[in-house]
């Protein structure tokens, strides 16, 4: 028998693993796998260089303490779990905070054009939920620059040959095989339910194929498109996560959806204006007089209400996003004090985000990328006019449940195959598609970090799983894959035959409008009950739609139909999770239950798919479950690991409140505020 770590299976095939998704998390996973000598098939719906990570703007957090403020990974850990309202398991967060400086240095070595200090060191700026300068940045297109750096490294691995244990080149096999314009349909499961590969569809030729893989990782991003309009790219439908959830994967904390306070209102996409605008000194305000008719720039200081600075003197405009979004929403929606529009004669859902007091030269160096977006889409100069913004759905803290193995020192056991593993054996998840690092609310500039860190953990974890498995997927009978392929082929043909009257795009618009209105900033149980029954109705109606296109090639209508069904399934997980959780925590806010309730709800929401209900998709919420990995059973409960930072009430009125360590030392916080 070939050694388990062998690059070849018993049947002499090269044992590849599969990564789905080519954003930061997926690409980092690929690189780590390649470094461990594991060849990878990388699937992506779009050319990986166009993945949604490209939209991230402000930066990436790492406590490098370049400014001498006394910042440290320990403070980063504390502020992250405090910002997440104590819902995140703390060991993975510790691992992430500890690894952050090394990650930023690695990116620097890869050539990311980070902004610099006069000495040529990396420059850092401020972001929400902290008083420290902790965010490294490349202008205001940091996500793009990070994605490009990892894309370049993966491109290099595409040119590298696979070598066997003796260093002999395996002819015709490259370390990375990139499959772009492929849509993930499902995992191939063996008789024990373990993931042995995937079924995917080429969205140009529309051919459906099954691919074996000794482990599979989903790094497929968020699900913002469920809310219709958001800051997300059009590809962020959550379809892959939904598909494996329907195959038995646990979905965790689905109800925690981050609404970002500052985006540009529009009908197609709510384009983000990064938190870095406030990190660099941007101020949020509304006119004191609700009927103010002067243009923003002409309203004098005394007639402005800086409501975040007034209410939160400690953190000011840089309170965490859930808090800022609620305040902006309250100001415009409840108090009707949004920017007055004399044409429509009403106060619009718009708030001023003002950078005009900052020198143009500074703005150009640090924020040009976002200001260019504002200028291009609004047609107004943000260097001399306050921008008009409003909150928008931005990020899913929830996602596929993934495991971790805690080390003695409170961090993760390096290389444990449990890290980032879902409850489907052999299936991993990382990036926004997992639920692991942000609890009930994500801090700004922690997402790029969590994507890359999770990728760094997932790669070794998959490699370790692969070396311990009893039988390679490449030694399974072909029939296992053919059966999985056929099932998807039949589902696809059924979609092509749909000839009802409903238009899937119109149904999606209805779903999005409802989710946006009823399941975001404020949640009410009576409304959520209606949402849940409406989701069932929408699903039944969606089945009566007609596929808009029957072409053999590039049939976007058929692809969208599939994504729509998967979005509806996840919408139910989100809405039902919100309905169940009778408390307020982080991004989840119920006016009827305004406080955090640790006694009942200091726990992870764990959702399993089941058949039932009027649309035959129901959610089974569980408190515990078991899963197996390489012959060992693991028992999981919904308890949150709070072993490193003890929960306490979350308040941002006082400076330094987010970190016990930083907060106890007056000198440090003072210098951080300066």
């Amino acid at each position: 028998m070939a050694a388990k770590t062998s690059v070849r299976s018993e049947s002499q095939k090269v044992r590849r693993v599969i990564v789905v998704g080519g954003g930061l998390a997926g690409l980092m996973t690929v690189i780590k796998l390649c470094e461990a000598g594991v060849p990878v098939d990388l699937f992506s719906l779009v050319p990986v260089k166009r993945s949604h990570s490209v939209c991230a703007q402000g930066g990436i957090n790492a406590s490098v303490n370049t400014k001498g403020e006394g910042d440290s990974p320990q403070i980063h850990l504390e502020e992250t779990v405090y910002g997440g309202d104590f819902l995140a398991n703390q060991p993975p967060v510790k691992g992430m905070a500890d690894a952050a400086p090394g990650i930023v240095f690695m990116l620097d070595r890869m050539g990311v054009p980070f902004n610099r200090t006069p000495e040529g060191l990396l420059d850092f700026r401020r972001f929400g939920g902290t008083l420290f300068h902790r965010t490294a940045f490349a202008g205001a297109t940091t996500g793009q620059q990070l994605l490009y750096a990892l894309d370049e490294q993966v491109r290099r691995w595409e040119t590298q040959d696979v070598e066997d244990e003796k260093g002999i080149v395996v002819k015709g096999e490259k370390m990375v095989r990139k499959m772009e314009f492929w849509d993930f349909l499902s995992v191939v499961q063996d008789e024990n339910g373990a993931a042995r590969g995937i079924v995917a569809q080429d969205i140009k030729s529309m051919e459906i194929e099954a691919f074996p893989g000794d482990a599979v990782c989903l790094a497929t991003g968020g699900c913002g498109i469920i809310f219709g309009r958001s800051t997300n790219s059009v590809i962020c439908t959550g379809t892959a996560g939904s598909a494996v959830y329907q195959q038995g994967a646990v979905y965790a904390n689905g109800e925690f959806i981050q609404v970002h306070p500052t985006a540009i209102p529009a009908s197609d996409k709510l384009r983000l204006i990064s938190e870095s605008a406030r990190g660099e000194g941007g101020r949020v305000w509304v006119p004191k007089n609700a009927g103010e008719t002067r243009r923003g720039r002409d309203v004098p200081e005394k007639d402005r209400e800086y409501f975040l600075e007034d209410k939160y003197p400690g953190y000011g405009n840089l309170v965490p996003r859930d808090i800022a979004s609620r305040e902006l929403f309250k100001k415009a929606f409840h108090e009707k004090k949004g920017v007055f529009n004399s044409k429509s004669g009403k106060n619009e859902n718009e708030i001023y985000l003002d950078l005009t007091h900052i020198p143009k030269e500074t703005l150009k160096k640090k924020l040009a990328g976002i200001l260019e977006i504002y200028e291009k889409f609004v047609g107004e100069d943000p260097y001399s006019n306050p921008m008009r913004v409003f909150p928008a759905v931005h990020y899913s803290m929830g996602g596929l449940w993934v495991d971790f193995e805690r080390a003695q020192n409170g961090s993760l056991v390096a290389g444990s195959p449990r890290n980032q593993s879902t409850n489907i054996e052999g299936l991993y998840a990382c990036g926004e598609s997992d639920y692991q690092y942000h609890g009930a609310n994500r801090l700004g500039a922690n997402s790029l970090l969590s994507c890359i860190y999770a990728g760094m953990v997932t790669g070794p974890s998959m490699a370790s799983f692969r070396s311990n498995m009893a039988k390679s997927a490449f030694d399974l009978p072909k029939s296992v894959f053919e059966k999985a392929r056929k099932r998807e082929q039949e589902k696809y043909e059924a979609i092509l035959k749909m000839d009802g009257k409903e238009n899937p795009y119109a149904i999606h618009e209805e779903l999005g409008n409802m989710m946006l209105r009823d399941v975001t900033i404020e949640r009410h149980n009576d409304v959520l009950d209606k949402v849940i029954s409406n989701i069932d109705e929408l699903e039944i109606r969606a089945r009566k739609s007609g596929v808009t296109d029957t072409a053999v090639q590039s049939n976007q209508g058929a692809t969208f139909m599939r994504h729509l069904f998967n979005m509806i399934v996840l919408a139910r997980v989100i809405a039902q999770g919100a309905r169940n959780r009778d408390e307020s925590r982080g991004a989840h806010f119920k006016p009827a239950f305004p406080d955090r309730n640790d006694a009942d709800w200091q726990r992870t929401t764990l959702a399993l798919h089941k058949e039932g209900g009027s649309a035959n998709h129901a959610v089974n919420y569980v408190r515990e479950f078991d899963y197996a990995q390489n012959g060992k059973g693991v028992h999981i409960t919904d308890a949150v690991d709070i072993s490193l930072v003890k929960p306490r009430p979350r308040k941002y009125e006082t400076a330094g409140a987010a970190s016990a360590v930083a907060g106890t030392d007056d000198k440090k916080t003072t210098s951080a505020q300066a």
Partner: protein, 251 residues
């Protein structure tokens, strides 16, 4: 409710080998505030009916970010190659014509196959040769001035505008085009990237390389990110000449 509609004239074809299906179709799409070409196409998809009243399969196009940072939605709008997401309807004469780019193989309707651009990045080794992703401490120190030169070059989205506009990129030439040459400049600027600078220059020494530029300067006109492509070509051209003349001496 929409007060009026906007007329779109769209060039269509069902597949790469279906030249027989090439046609123009016209649509009146309800206007909405801040309407751009992509938001118009999304609206069209909900009710894909031509001006003649015929229901047709919705137009197929490529898009991802909708904020001109991913490069996906490049097409020819009113005769000019650009991203469709930033093509604001109110700023353009109507009817608005949409066509696929012509320098890349057609896939369907407005979608073309730009994979050659990614292959070219492989060819010029557009990456820093890393020892590994393990912790090796901070990278080389760099001046802010260097950042300000590198950053604009690094914003290339591989969108294809420069290739589409370049007269030297055509059926009869293999010219690599401005985008890949610009990447060589970028990596040869980086303190550790430049250690493999010679290899990148060698990849650009053939006829399909930097010498293929005809100095029409169309690239810099159409680049949505205002990358100084002409400067990049001139810079890399100087580097290759120097390498050709003296490279062997330095070995």
């Amino acid at each position: 409710m929409a007060t009026h509609t906007v007329r779109f004239k769209i060039k269509r074809q069902d597949g790469p080998t279906r030249a027989d299906t090439q046609r123009w179709e016209e649509f009146d799409i309800p206007w909405h505030p801040q309407m751009n070409v992509l938001s118009a196409l999304m609206e069209h998809r909900r009710n894909p009916v031509t001006v003649e009243g015929k229901t047709v399969p919705p137009v197929v196009w490529e898009s991802v970010c909708l904020e001109e940072v991913c490069g996906a939605c490049t097409m020819i709008v009113n005769g000019r190659v650009r991203q469709a997401c930033t093509a604001l309807v109110d700023q353009m004469p109507q009817p608005i014509t949409l066509e696929p780019m012509t320098k890349f193989p057609l896939v369907r309707d407005l979608v073309v196959d730009r994979s050659r651009m990614f292959k070219d990045l492989q060819k010029v080794k557009a990456w820093v040769q890393l020892d590994g992703t393990h912790e090796l401490g901070p990278g080389p120190r760099q001046s802010q001035e260097n950042q300000e030169t590198a950053y604009p070059l690094s914003r290339c989205m591989t969108c294809g505008c420069c290739l589409e506009a370049c007269p030297q990129v055509n059926d009869r030439s293999d010219f690599i085009g401005p985008a890949a040459i610009n990447q060589v400049r970028l990596f040869n600027l980086h303190p550790s990237g430049k250690m493999n600078g010679a290899e990148r220059l060698e990849a650009l020494m053939g006829e399909d390389g930097v010498a293929g530029c005809g100095k029409a300067q169309n690239c810099v006109e159409v680049c949505p990110k205002e990358i100084p492509l002409v400067d990049s070509i001139a810079d890399v051209s100087r580097q290759t000449t120097k390498h050709m003349l003296f490279g062997w001496l330095l070995k």
